[in-house]
Each structure stands twice: as C-alpha cells, then as structure tokens.
Symmetry: C2
C-alpha cells in the first residue's frame, strides 16, 4: 500500500473521550475510528489486522475439522424463550428492536440458541455426529459502560465455535483438541507466553469452565496463578473450597490483572435439552446431544495485542498480525527509485511511505503504526549495496543487502 494513495493518516490526538491506550493509539495510528463508546469502524490497516487474526484462527480450527458458517444478527425470540434467555432479567445486555410487521427481535449477543435450532435440521442420528461449527460474527452487547477501546465493545467481532457429540467422552476428547488449537493460536498471535488457561465458574452441568486470560496491567479481570503457572484461577473461583479440591495453598498464588481473550465451556445439555436437539443412538433410542462452546474475541485480541506491546512511540505488532511487514522509505533520487522497485515486487506486504514529507516524519509514523521493520533505502546505503533496517520491537538497526531484503517478508 502506498501512503500517498490511502486516506488514512496519523493523527496528533485521539478523541477526548478515548481513555484506553489501545483505543487512543489505534485511532492516532489510523487503524480505527470511534463511532461511539464501544463502537468502532475498522480502517484499511485495522481491517488487515482483523483479517490476519481471523485467518490464524480459521487455519487452526479448519485443521481440527471445524466448518465455517455465518449466522444472522437479527434473532427470532422463539428459541431464546425456550432457554429463558430472551428475558432482559436473565440476559441484561440485549439490544432489542421491533419488526415493522409486528413482534420483537434481538441482536445476537451470542449464538447458542440459533445454532442449536439450525442444527435440528441436520442432526438426527449418531451418524451425523460429531459436528464442529464456527463463525466469525459481529456480536452486540448493550454494555452500560464501554471505556476499554476495542477491548470491550458494544459491537464487536467474535469467533464462536460450537461442538456436538454423542457422548461426554467424545466431548472431552474434542475439548482437548480445542485446547491445543487455542494454544497454537495464541502462540501464533504472539501472546502464547503470557496467556493462561484459567479455571472459571461453570454452570448447571459442569463445575468449571475455562477461560484464556492474557496478562495485562489494564485487564478488567483478576486472576491468581501459582509459581509454575500450572494452576491459574479466575477471582470468582479462587476460594478455600476450590483450593482444597486442587490440593493448593492460597499463599502459593499471586494476584494479577488480565484480559479474557477466550473461553471454552462444556455446555453438556444446557441448550440441547430445552431446544430438543436429539439423536437416535445405535440402538435407535433418542438421546440428547452433548455440546461444547468455544469463544474467542477477535476485535478484543486486536485491542489486547495493541495495548500489551505498545511503547511510548506507538504500536508494536507481532509479525503474524501486522498489517504490513515492512514500512519502506526511499531517500534521494537513486534510493527512491530502488525503493519503488522493491515495493513493486512485494506491494501486498509493504507499506510504502511515498509522501513528500521529511524522513523524520516518516520515521515517527512508522513507529506509531508499529510495522515490524522500517527499511530505508538511500543513496548513502546504496553506496554499500545495502538498506538500513530497524526492527520496531527491539529498536535494533542492521544493514541488509538489497537482494536479501525480501527475507524480511
């Protein structure tokens, strides 16, 4: 992408009501635009980050046999009434609206009910199971406050996966596969070493659920972890009874802030029972389908990664999610010409700052935007047949010969 050809530009200031670091930096760097608290537009760079995160998740889920669909936002109350969740008392973050032809609708805050309801068309026998179905869908939650940038949206993008099984053993088996896939996803997103699977509160059918919590100073959650991180608890389950169950002592745990970036839950019959999702087993007896659900906040991940790695100069993206790998600057007549040539060969992975502004402004913008490598080709570097490369994360400068530059991509 050529900066001359794009409408985005870095901004000196974020909106006054943007209190979160991720929201302010992403706005100033031209990734997002705030519509209102918790509601953002994704500009070209931001959309590329979102798509990179989605593709990493998609690849890992497809690899364990999951199928992608796209369900609707508008929700017919009927299936939600069967589980009691259309009630504003039961679920207090609904956005509701009215159909012109009569009747109330909801904007989906999650999709268990319509997913189970839809699959009643497709599941009738044990031969139809197991099934793993996911989507990337915009969710709507009518939060009273939303002041954490894209880390807590009223409108946000989520990956939600649902699994369906003939037995608890099969659910357990797939649950472990998702744990492995989640570990690979967080690794690839660059936050594997600071994201822990925690014990969180369960439900009717299972004592605990699990969350994925990413260590973050401004995270809204509080977690407790032991020395080797083999046991990590969410605040709501960190009590003497639970500690006794795990044979652990309170004094071995430290408290810290974290942001929830994923959750996985053995739902068992919670939704399949009230919605009547059944299958006939090998003896032709009707059984209720076992079910699990597995969430991951895509736009939240963008916010958490932005918030976590940023320094006082701006954003720092892991290579896997960066919108471009190289921020390219040409200086001088021959330097600019060679930069053009390099850009034309790899236009899709390079953000080319071809604007008529001084190099210092370009360097500052490259730091604010957080592109992994800043590459400068100038008449001076060309004298040695090299380009100057600065790694954004470490700040380290190196000289790389022109024919090796593409190794950075």
């Amino acid at each position: 992408m050529r900066l001359k050809n794009t409408f985005i530009k870095t901004l000196r200031e974020a909106p006054k009501d943007e209190l979160a670091k991720n929201g302010a930096l992403l706005t100033r760097a031209g990734y997002i635009h705030k519509e209102m608290a918790g509601v953002y537009d994704y500009l070209p760079l931001g959309l590329r980050v979102i798509e990179n995160i989605k593709n990493i998740i998609r690849e890992e889920l497809n690899a364990i046999g999951c199928e992608e669909v796209l369900m609707s936002t508008l929700q017919n109350p009927e299936p939600w009434e069967k589980t009691g969740r259309f009630s504003d008392q039961e679920v207090d973050i609904w956005f509701k609206t009215k159909l012109a032809s009569g009747g109330e609708l909801g904007l989906a805050p999650t999709h268990e009910e319509p997913m189970v309801n839809m699959l009643k068309t497709y599941i009738s026998s044990y031969k139809d199971l197991p099934l793993y179905v996911y989507q990337f869908q915009t969710k709507f939650r009518n939060e009273l406050r939303a002041k954490s940038g894209v880390m807590r949206g009223r409108e946000f993008l989520m990956k939600d996966l649902y699994s369906f099984h003939v037995s608890e053993a099969d659910l357990d088996n797939f649950y472990e596969k998702v744990e492995d896939a989640y570990a690979r996803i967080f690794d690839r997103l660059g936050i594997g070493d600071c994201t822990y699977k925690t014990f969180a509160s369960g439900g009717i059918f299972s004592k605990y659920s699990h969350e994925y919590q990413t260590l973050l100073d401004v995270g809204e959650d509080t977690i407790y972890y032991n020395k080797d991180h083999s046991l990590v608890f969410n605040k709501e389950v960190f009590n003497d009874e639970v500690l006794a169950e795990f044979g652990a002592k309170r004094e071995d745990f430290e408290e810290t802030n974290a942001a929830e970036t994923g959750n996985i839950f053995k739902l068992m019959f919670k939704y399949s029972e009230p919605l009547g999702l059944k299958f006939s087993d090998e003896e032709n007896h009707m059984q209720t389908v076992y079910m699990g659900c597995y969430g991951m906040g895509v736009s939240r991940l963008m916010g958490v990664i932005a918030e976590k790695f940023a320094d006082n100069k701006g954003l720092i993206w892991p290579k896997s999610v960066a919108p471009f790998q190289i921020y390219l600057v040409g200086i001088g007549e021959e330097g600019t010409k060679r930069a053009e040539e390099f850009y034309n060969e790899h236009a899709d992975k390079i953000l080319f700052d071809d604007r008529d502004v001084r190099p210092g402004e370009k360097f500052a913008d490259s730091e604010l935007m957080g592109i992994p490598y800043r590459v400068v080709i100038s008449d001076k570097t060309l004298a040695d047949g090299v380009a100057e490369v600065v790694e954004r994360a470490s700040g380290e400068t190196s000289k790389i010969s022109l024919d090796k530059l593409s190794d950075l991509l």
Copy 2:
C-alpha cells in the same frame, strides 16, 4: 470438502413459508438456513459462494484504487439527524434500538452519513482528494414483507462504495471507471449479458441515477429496453418527457421484469453539504466535497444467480461463484482409490461425495447443488484411463483422461 465430514445435507423440502425459488433451492441444497422472512444463515457452501462474489468485487474495486474498510452497524443518530434521515417518516425501514445508558440508536440501512462523518477527520485539503472507500457490510432494513428469498433481505450483505472529489469533472471521470468495473464484475459473475445499466430516478443534484438490472422473470422491478439495449429505463422514469429528452419513441421499447443488482449515483453535495465535509482548494478557499455512491447487493446477487440459472433439477452455478468446481464420485474399489488420490491433490476445489450411498443419490445431489462438473471415476472408466465428466449447465457428458482432469479446476 468431503461430504462425509460436513454437517450439511440436501433436504427433500424447503420450509413451507419459503415461496421464492432461490430461497427454496438454496435451502434444499444446503447453502442457507432461514431464520425468519428475509433473514438467513449462510452454511459452508453458501458462505463460499458469498466469499467468491465478494472477492470478484474486491479485485475489481481494488484495481481502480478503492480502499476497503468496515464500518459499524450501530448508528449514532447525530449525523443522520443532520441530513434528516434518522426520522422514520423520511426513512421508513429503520430498525431502531435503545442504548442501556440512554438514547436511541439505529441499525445501519446504508452508510452515507457515518462515512462522510468519519472522513471529516481525514479530508481537509484538495491534496487529500480524490478518495474511494468501500466496505462489505451487513445492512438492516425493516421491510414489511420479505418473501423473495435472499433477493430481498431484512438483513443482507452489501458492497457500498463512496467516492469523494474536488470537482464534478473528477466525479464524472471516476463514475465512468466504476461503470467499467461494474461491467467487468457482472461479466465475471456470469450475468454480464443479461444485466443492463438503466436510467433511474435521480435526486436533488442529479436528474438520473443509474441502476444495474438483471433480467429475471420474478424480478421485482419493471424495466423498458429498446432493441439494441442502448437505452434502458426503470419504470419510474419511463414517461413521455424523458423519452423526448432522449429522442426515443415509446413503441420501440419492450417491458420486462428485472432485479436490481447494483446502483450508482452522483450524490454531489447531498450528504457532504449538511454534514460539512469540506476541503480547502488550491487558492485556500473552502469548498464542499463532490460525492458519488455505488452499491451492489452481495447476498442478493447470490439469490439472483441462483434464481436465474436453476433448472428443474436444482441450482446451476457459474464457475466463478461455484463453491467448488468439481463434484467428485468414485465407484468401485479402484475407482474410489483414484478418486481419493485426485481429491487429496485438489481438496480445496473439490466437493468429494465419499458417502456410503448409491451413485444415483450422489448424482441427484450433485445436480441439486449445482456444482459445474460432476466427475465420476469408476473401475469401468479406468479401463479406458479416463473419468466421466458431466457439465451441469449443458448436461453434456465427456470422457477426460485422468491426467487432464485438473484442467477443469
């Protein structure tokens, strides 16, 4: 994709309230699931069709310099109040909802207002223009009735492009580029020869807008075309005054039904003026930005293509939008083994019917699903070193040697 591994299956019947052919066939063939009138889920095959349509549009728009963003569904009334369009009297298809912290919001039926409002941050000088910004976004329209399948949704996917210019001449110039891009898009979608640019009603600033109307028996619009299709009018402008303007005679025109698949509009100052989108010109005078908008219904295109080409056996997809190019069947031990091998080499482009059902059922499903080529590898065809290929659109059967099969992909 292996049919054994996917949850979708063909259905004998569509829901009773699904009156539209496209909705019924897409449901029976496992592409969509109906949530309510005008609201559908996209199942794995349907999502692939949607993504194929999006990619064709994306490639052609990127080629003329457009930039992709993603704006929000939830709409702050403020910019809409400036144009008068938040009023239910003015725009009668709003879905409205209430924010828990107070205030009314809308679900975007289109995005002129937030787009113009957002770009006020980025446009200040003639140097920032022209700009072409588009998105693929779910739109919400509270239709009283919605009985045309995915051709008329209450929730539907649309591509909306907005352009911004310093002058009418520059707008005109880009408008022509979009016309060319639209022609290429409709060609690539396989409906170029039955889609016409029509004159439609204009607005305050321009006498006419243009629509793209695809000939379709059940299309909701009526258009009038002359013999060589050099002049095509929407019903609302087909009157003596307009005919006189174009020097045309009423008796030279025929009436037909069509479905609107795109529209383009010289908005001029319609939104930029009330919203105050201005730029300083080369003489440092403030000027109002000239604007155009260019829509295309993505999910509607899926419905129109499905509706238009289907025959009594099922769907018929043009190759460019088909979810897979080949529906593969192996018969007999060696035939199945060779089919497996061919599938494994090109898994992404083949729908492999590896189910334990009789070939006749597979053939019927391949026709209902509308995959361009049905390829059968059997012990019998292998004796001649070939596979049997049936083209879905023509019904023509041919023998193709195994090493040439991948030419179909």
